[in-house]
């Protein structure tokens, strides 16, 4: 990016909303993803749709790449800059524009944090269920772009189940409006759902319309301790077979339990091989009945202890502790590579076994936790990026895990997105025709490939760091 381009950008957003200082470039070179980073050329904080539109048009002419960014908590590198890029930060777009209590919808700007949105709609007795682990920090815009999940996915689904419409600026500068407040709407292709999970490669989202549901009135949260990992996995299967749908069913292995306990000091059992955090919610006596059934299933599967949260605040403490799991694992080693291989839930016990096997086979340490109820595991490799040999073994272990997940009918990512970190595995899941279709759509919308290029599938421009790497580099690679 040359000075002339920078001057033009400044003219669009104003000097105060532009920076290319070395300090700011460093501070926008990363997100929540391990190992990957790249310096952008400049950063802008646009204030209006028009400014974003003009930036897009300029990017096609200049040219330079445009990388949208929310709070930067992503775990697949979706908001990490690429070569010659301008980072567009949306965190100041943090207004809730309308809470419509007649249609049960909320209209927000993309920079509103998920937790803030939830607490505002709860004041009206309404509920926005998706709750990614970083909900106090991450933005709705990022959630929509990555189709984020969370702890409550099992019963309430993920972000895509709540998006009714979006407004976004396309790479050619046009404003696209998708969806609306209609419960039913089949006019043309379903563009609104296509935008969800497009990882900032199709447009920069400037407005979001979300569906809300009535806030459940009762909930019971309990924690079951297991001496054996396999017992906990069986308990999960039994609950699903008993036709109970808890709103949350979270699994933590021994390594994770220890790290979380060291951070929270809430009395988690450091000797247990696994714990399950389960919440049932709803209305009236059914909640209590479900909780009893859950308890019985836990006991039948040799749970050594069942702790029932005595109050909402205790339940919140337990859930907050679970949300800290990924970062707490960094207590053991400085680099934590978190993946989210996901399998059909009946295959969860097999997948947990495969993670253990990967750790043994490649001599690396894993902390394993995740959303047991929906088969979305978060095997996290505890390593140190300064040890290149170990990092290489970690990559091989992940390759093994991804392969095994796919053999079990699973996928490479349940809720974090493909981004930079997993794009080399995409063909394994989507197949060649799938990836080809994605590329065609992208090039039809973004002719000059200026918007978040190199993410999901394109190969160039390349990003710094040792991830992602080519499959051919791995010995004994097999599908």
């Amino acid at each position: 990016m040359d000075n002339a381009a920078k001057e033009k950008i400044k003219a669009i957003v104003g000097n105060k909303n532009f920076t290319d200082s070395q300090e700011d470039r460093i501070c926008y070179s990363y997100d929540g993803t391990a190992v990957l980073h790249h310096l952008p050329e400049a950063i802008v904080f646009p204030e209006t749709d028009e400014q974003i539109s003009k930036i897009m048009k300029l990017a096609n002419e200049a040219p330079f790449n445009v990388v949208p960014r929310g709070a930067g908590t992503g775990l697949s590198g979706g908001s990490i800059p690429v070569e010659n890029s301008l980072v567009v930060v949306m965190t100041r777009w943090n207004r809730i524009l309308e809470i419509d209590t007649k249609n049960l919808t909320v209209t927000v700007e993309p920079g509103v944090t998920t937790a803030n949105l939830q607490s505002e709609v709860e004041k009206y007795g309404l509920f926005y269920p998706p709750d990614p682990g970083s909900l106090t920090v991450c933005t709705i815009g990022g959630n929509v772009a990555n189709n984020s999940g969370g702890l409550r996915g099992l019963k309430y689904g993920v972000t895509k189940n709540y998006v009714l419409g979006t407004e976004l600026i396309l790479p050619n500068g046009d404003l696209l409006k998708t969806g609306g407040k209609n419960v039913k709407d089949v006019a043309g292709y379903n563009l609104k759902d296509f935008i969800v999970g497009s990882e900032g490669t199709i447009g920069i989202i400037t407005k979001i319309l979300l569906k809300l549901i009535p806030l459940p009135t009762e909930s019971i949260t309990l924690l079951a301790y297991f001496d054996k990992l396999t017992d906990s996995a069986q308990a999960v299967s039994d609950i699903i077979s008993a036709h109970i749908v808890p709103c949350m069913m979270e699994f933590l292995d021994n390594t994770t339990i220890n790290c979380v306990e060291d951070y929270t000091h809430i009395g988690l059992p450091k000797n247990s091989e696994a714990i399950l955090l389960i919440e049932v919610d709803g209305k009236g006596s059914a909640v209590q009945e479900d909780a009893e059934t859950v308890k019985n299933i836990m006991k039948k599967n040799r749970a050594s202890f069942i702790r029932v949260a005595a109050s909402i605040s205790e339940a919140n403490i337990l859930k907050t502790a679970r949300r800290s799991a990924f970062s707490a694992l960094a207590r053991k080693r400085p680099t934590t590579i978190l993946e989210d291989a996901t399998v059909p839930r009946s295959e969860l016990p097999a997948m947990i076994e495969k993670v253990t096997e990967a750790a043994r086979k490649f001599d690396v340490t894993f902390g394993d936790f995740g959303h047991a109820g929906d088969g979305n595991l978060h095997p996290t490799c505890l390593t140190d990026e300064r040890d290149k040999n170990e990092l290489d073994r970690a990559h091989k272990a992940f390759d093994f895990i991804f392969n095994e997940a796919i053999k079990l009918g699973g996928t490479i990512t349940g809720e974090h997105g493909t981004g930079l970190a997993k794009k080399h595995f995409l063909e394994m899941v989507a197949g060649i025709p799938g990836v080809e279709m994605m590329k065609k759509i992208k090039s039809a919308i973004d002719e000059n490939n200026i918007l978040n290029p190199g993410k999901i599938f394109t190969i160039s421009p390349k990003c710094e760091g040792s991830l992602p790497f080519k499959r051919e580099q791995i010995k004994d690679f097999h599908l």
């Binding site: 300090e23 460093i26 997100d31 929540g32 106090t136 991450c138 800290s324």
Partner: protein
């Protein structure tokens, strides 16, 4: 320049890059950072600052105006440490960066030199502090302050100076260290021997709170030991990048308190307690002091922490009123003391303790932050005062002198009708069965 910084200063404090690598930049700290909340800029966040310190240590950047600004813009409230599941020691990194700044040409500016002079020569010396405080007392009490404000003297110099002058706490008539005997015995049998840090500013500006603390302790059957040669704890020095003086003061206190046999060392100031708990860490590589300092730190307790431990032995009388409690940063985030003060206060009959939203969010006092970053500090104070207003309480309690002054100032500035006290003042009332103010 940066090469020199890297080798000489930063590495001295951050012995290897483990401490810098520990941050996995997950961003969980962002939501708790008052400065990030103000600017929404990554460099004003703990994650961004760590990345910048890392870049400086690796000579990727020079020491620049922006770097210096961001390190000083940080309140050092350490809310991010509470929020960090990975256990990153952010506070010590920022303090190290501040030392780098203070050693560099940036430290040579007039205001920095003046700050250093105050810290090294006034706060660190009890007689000099008392002398300056006497002058301040004369200024505050004989109409000079009122007169200068009435003729608009400060506005002539700088519009903010007048506000800053109002922010500074009133000097106490009598300094607490002038009243206290070295050993103060309770009326009855001695159950605990408690060493007490009179502190520097606590002694001259908040003598009443010190008196209340000693009274509470003796009413709870404690002998209070008050070593007459004790010095300032050094926390303000450490937070402002003068670790050398902080270490000198720490050693002196380890020696002076070491002359007495006591069960616990009690502090009524969150900042002092927090730093004395760190002595063991600060002096860990000092051959002569490491063991002694470790033992010293293990005995340090905040007054509410101590009272909470001996709660079954205390009988409280009725105290009517609606109260709320603000968590001082260095109590909540550095010492992780949040439940104990609430537990003690809730066990006083008659007290209605209202929940304060965002009670652990910094009030903006932060040492001398409210003076050097007046505008930013006021934005944080306004947020705090609005939360206090919502509780409909008549009294705010908080365990740190800086917070007390700040919230008192905020009550006037933002027109919130509350009184502000240290919890010990109310605890003393409850012990004496007197609801008189």
């Amino acid at each position: 320049m940066s090469e020199k910084i890297n080798l000489l200063v930063l590495q001295k404090i951050l012995p290897n890059d483990d401490i810098l690598s520990q941050c996995i930049h997950c961003g969980m700290c962002l939501a708790t950072c008052p400065t990030y909340e103000l600017t929404k800029l990554e460099r004003s966040s703990p994650r961004g600052r760590i990345r910048l310190i890392n870049a400086l240590a690796k000579s990727e950047i020079e020491l620049t105006d922006t770097f210096v600004y961001e390190m000083n813009f940080c309140l050092d409230c350490q809310a991010c440490e509470t929020a960090c599941p990975a256990g990153v020691k952010y506070g010590s990194m920022v303090e190290a960066a501040r030392e780098v700044i203070s050693e560099s040409e940036y430290g040579a500016s007039f205001s920095n030199k003046f700050k250093k002079f105050l810290l090294r020569n006034i706060l660190a010396s009890q007689p000099k502090l008392k002398f300056v405080s006497k002058l301040l007392f004369i200024y505050q009490s004989f109409g000079i302050k009122k007169f200068l404000h009435s003729i608009g003297f400060f506005k002539l110099l700088s519009p903010k100076l007048g506000e800053v002058d109002k922010l500074s706490p009133e000097v106490s008539k009598t300094f607490s260290s002038n009243i206290f005997q070295e050993r103060i015995k309770p009326k009855g049998e001695i159950k605990y021997k408690i060493a007490f840090l009179t502190g520097c500013l606590m002694d001259v500006m908040f003598a009443e709170i010190n008196k209340d603390t000693v009274d509470v302790l003796t009413l709870c059957n404690c002998e209070v030991i008050n070593p007459k040669n004790q010095v300032c704890c050094g926390s303000l020095h450490a937070h402002n990048g003068d670790i050398e003086t902080a270490i000198k003061l720490a050693k002196k206190n380890v020696d002076e308190f070491g002359k007495f046999d006591y069960d616990f060392l009690v502090s009524n100031s969150a900042g002092c307690g927090a730093f004395m708990k760190e002595y063991g860490h600060v002096l860990q590589n000092d051959f002569n002091y490491s063991e002694k300092a470790k033992l010293f730190s293990e005995k340090v307790k905040d007054i509410t922490e101590f009272l909470s431990d001996i709660l079954p032995e205390i009988t409280f009388h009725n105290v009517e009123g609606s109260f709320t409690y603000h968590d001082a940063c260095h109590l909540a985030h550095t010492q992780k003391v949040t439940n104990q003060p609430r537990k003690v206060l809730n066990s006083i009959p008659g007290i209605e303790l209202n929940n304060l939203e965002e009670s652990t969010w910094c009030c903006g006092s932060a040492g001398i932050y409210n003076i050097v970053h007046y505008d930013d500090s006021m934005k944080m104070l306004e947020r705090k005062m609005e939360n206090i207003r919502k509780t409909n309480s008549s009294t705010v309690l908080t365990g740190n002198p800086g917070c007390i002054s700040q919230i008192k100032y905020g009550a006037k500035k933002f027109n919130v009708n509350v009184e502000v006290f240290h919890p010990v003042t109310i605890i003393k009332r409850a012990l004496l069965n007197s609801n008189k103010k």
